[in-house]
């Protein structure tokens, strides 16, 4: 029986990361993102199966996400060393080049499993994208199997909608009496 994730506190995590500068390692936990929005996306494997385009696209849209008070985190079941090597591979050679956000290593596969995106028999993650709000509540998920890239524009659209909260639309227009009375 699959458990529902959306609308509940996001599963907790702590992972080692390779920073976007291609040099340093770090550590991230869900609690680090308290008070901010988080877009966390999973991908199968460094170097293979993945077209780096979407990972780079998120990196290049840093300013947009910054304006939306949103952090980005990429996750796969590779080691942090593999992540770092991929960041240090040039884009001409199907590498990532420097990124504006870290890549986390879910090497023991618990995070992918908790988020329901682990392909158990292969030990790699499906392409899943999750949006977690500043209170740690999972607000949105999209998961797919085949090679469908995730769109930055669509992610931004969803984020903006999630961040708007209540909207009262004006679906009424003034009658003639107001248009005449100047």
């Amino acid at each position: 029986m699959a458990e529902r994730l959306v609308g509940r506190p996001a599963p907790d995590f702590t992972m080692e990361t390779a920073l976007g500068n291609g040099q340093d390692f770090g550590k991230v936990s869900l609690s680090d993102y308290k008070g901010k929005w988080l877009v966390m996306f999973f991908y199968p494997l460094d170097f293979t199966f993945v077209c780096p385009t979407e990972i780079i696209a998120f990196s290049e849209s840093k300013d947009i996400f910054e304006d939306l008070d949103t952090e980005i985190l990429g996750v796969s079941t590779d080691s942090k060393f593999s992540h770092r090597a991929w960041i240090n591979t040039s884009r001409d050679d199907n590498g990532l080049g420097p990124l504006t956000y870290p890549l986390a290593s879910d090497i023991n596969k618990t995070v992918a499993r908790d988020y329901g995106v682990l392909i158990e028999e292969e030990g790699i993650a499906l392409r899943g994208l999750f949006i977690i709000d500043p209170d740690g509540i999972l607000k949105y998920q999209v998961v797919n199997f085949n090679d469908v890239g995730r769109s930055v524009d669509e992610t931004v659209r969803v984020l903006q909608a999630l961040q708007s909260g209540g909207l009262c639309p004006a679906n009424w227009k003034p009658g003639q009496k107001f248009l005449e009375a100047k």
Binding site: S164, W172, P174
Partner: protein
Amino acid sequence: MRLRSPLPAFEGVTEWVNGQATKEQLAGKPVLVHFWSVSCHMCKEGLPQILVWREHYGKPYDLQVIGVHMPRSEKDTDIAAAKAVIEEYHLEHPIMIDNAHAITDAFQNEYVPSYYLFDAEHQLRHIQAGEKGLKLVEQRLQKIMGSTNQEGQ
């Protein structure tokens, strides 16, 4: 309304409350325009925050706050009701009663609450709708204010 669009003219206003703002007065100053409606409960929840911003950004950055009361129904066009809310929430900045939707249409505004932030050159730099947007407006304020003032934050 697209980002970087110029601040629309305040034409076709039904009535100004708390005095009239003119483009001349606002020249060279950043402007925050907020839309609200008496019938919108969430809008009222955000009004105290606007007072805080005026306090916080008014002096150091010369931020000018302008309100637009956008009626969402015939009932909302009762000017006395809008004035009662303005008084209740101690709003002291100029507010346009937009019973003809002239300003609403000029901004192509569809929702309340909504916030439009213009820099000192009166270019639109941020639009935010909805009650949850308050924190983001604040962030953009800081960013834009910082860039229009050498002292920064």
